[in-house]
Symmetry: C2
Subunit: 349 residues, 2 copies
């Protein structure tokens, strides 16, 4: 049975929110978990859950007293003495802190005691330890981060969302392929539609990288349908399954979307606080706003997948609440069970 | 007195919305204008305005019967036999169509009959004709597009928003300087705060271009304060005046923001249409939503400025309504009167 290893010490609200989310997932999805971190601190959170259930007001949702029977859950605890902090240089940190929670969580997958990792700490450390600890799938030049974004219709996969700061057309071609396998096997998109993120629709638009990538994908669309260039504003139409780009551009786009959505909800909140009438209308509108927030909140998607390594690593937002971690565990479980890595290995080699 | 030349034939809703916006601006801001295009078609719109006033339901605002006294406005008409269409390759088109509305509108500035151009047609054609017709300011390596974006506080300037698909650190340094002069002289920001759009806050983050740009700006912040790297999500905090990036990245960010905002407003609209209760709440919430829409709608900013050429070119959105054009004329007028080009010339040389 699929077991998910979780870096219990990674993230702004670790270990509390991480442990709560992990337990919640174990209970909801009947998935065995392995919590990696300082056991005494993890145990404190478990004791709180045993007494009061899961309560959290992080991440925009208010969760109250969700009862779980810990004795019926398959939860393994693995001691990790060290923690890699957000500011540390990833490459140095994973070599220096061999007993850190992220390194040992990845190690659990490498050794086979778990099948996937969920990590909400330093993205760089999660990538470096996965690359180092799990190794690349044979034939994959560079792993890439596949992020799931909300659209007007079904979500779209943006790859690479920041694993590599620069790329070649050949790398982007592999990202397209890995993203397509993810869309097909995890999101059940039959013959995924793949586009290139560009600044115009025409073939001759953009910088040299995207022009060359366009040509490569046009001639080598194996396992997916190439639909050409996709502009930033079309990302949200939901007419395409996978959008390929360089990590730098993808990460800027991802964070811009996050910032833009947050600003809009902030402006809406402010607008509904100007006087008594606005407060009343705001109260009436609240359930509707909540539904929209739920649809676009990154916490619903749990985290982004690092594709191309021999194992599944789900990279969650640093500000992940228990709800985000619960969803991240679900994503990890689905990715393992879909066999997406096997499909990538077959197609790449 | 400042006269603004307007490409009356450029844009999805030309000439109707363009002429209406131009007349509206002439009336509201007491600014002389020069409409460049097919005079018979322009005259038709003017006749309609004379009879019924300005009416428009484009661009999210419903405008009805705004009365203007055409006889009191300073409106010059200049015949242009040709129009450059959206799909045409800009470089070829401006050489082939020497009597096109955009080429002749730029020509009006080059000859001195007008002081600035407003263009809502092909961005490439507007850039190419400006570069060719007006020439670069001495010392400026490459012109750049400065777009104004909404934030939680005051707007921020994103430069380059798409004039160049690739750049060097030296070019980005000049963009920083031009953006800062724009922020200072047009938006009255004393000692503008300038940041580099990046995927992390730390100096060593990002690709080689942004790393080198960081170093250059740190050592050469003349006329502005360098505040380091700015992540996509921080764009909307309003804590910085100018954000510098490569044109490809800037254009992706700009269009992503547009798409993301449009999706959110679409989702809100849908949510307020599900049943009778939602429709009633939606009606009550409408005035509040309108205020937020007004705050983030790109039409409020009128258009982006092409900085670095000897003249002012305002590049408006292809879907510009009369309201957007009216604001674009205001931006053009303010830019001319601020003497931003003179300041750029002084600092660059």
């Amino acid at each position: 049975m699929t077991r998910i290893a979780i870096d219990a010490m990674g993230g702004d609200f670790a270990p509390s929110e991480i442990v709560k989310g992990a337990v919640w997932a174990a209970s909801d999805y009947k998935v065995p978990i392995e919590l990696v971190g300082q056991i005494d601190k993890i145990q404190e959170v478990l004791d709180e859950i045993a007494k009061k259930g899961i309560t959290s007001n992080r991440g925009g949702y208010f969760i109250k007293n969700i009862k779980v029977d810990l004795s019926k859950l398959d939860i393994k605890l693995t001691q990790a003495d060290e923690v890699i902090e957000m500011g540390e240089a990833p490459g140095v940190a994973i070599r220096k802190k061999k007993k850190s929670s992220i390194v040992l969580a990845v190690d659990a997958v490498a050794k086979g005691s778990s099948d996937a990792v969920v990590a909400a700490g330093s993205t760089g450390a999660a990538m470096a330890s996965s690359l180092f600890g799990l190794g690349r799938i044979k034939g994959v030049e560079r792993p890439a981060i596949a992020a799931t974004l909300p659209t007007k219709k079904d979500p779209v996969i943006l790859i690479d969302a920041g694993a590599n700061s620069s790329s070649t057309p050949e790398m982007l071609k592999q990202f397209a392929l890995m993203g397509a396998m993810f869309a097909k096997n995890v999101y059940n998109r039959e013959t995924p539609k793949v586009g290139v993120l560009n600044i115009g629709e025409e073939e001759e638009k953009g910088n040299q990288l995207v022009k060359d990538t366009y040509k490569l994908l046009k001639e080598n669309a194996e396992g997916f349908a190439f639909v050409g260039n996709i502009e930033g504003k079309e990302l949200f139409q939901g007419d395409v399954d996978v959008v390929v780009c360089e990590g730098f551009v993808g990460n800027v786009a991802l964070k811009t979307i996050e910032g833009c959505s947050m600003m809009l909800f902030k402006l809406i909140q402010q607008e509904f606080k100007t006087d008594l009438v606005s407060k009343i209308v705001g109260l009436l509108a609240k359930p509707f706003m909540k539904r929209i927030y739920k649809r676009i909140n990154y916490e619903e998607f749990g985290g982004a997948l690092l594709l191309g390594v021999k194992g599944i690593t789900v990279i969650s937002h640093g500000r992940s609440s228990s709800y985000a971690i619960k969803n991240a565990v679900r994503v990890a479980k689905e990715a393992v069970e879909s066999g997406v890595n096997k499909k990538i290995a077959e197609l790449v080699s």
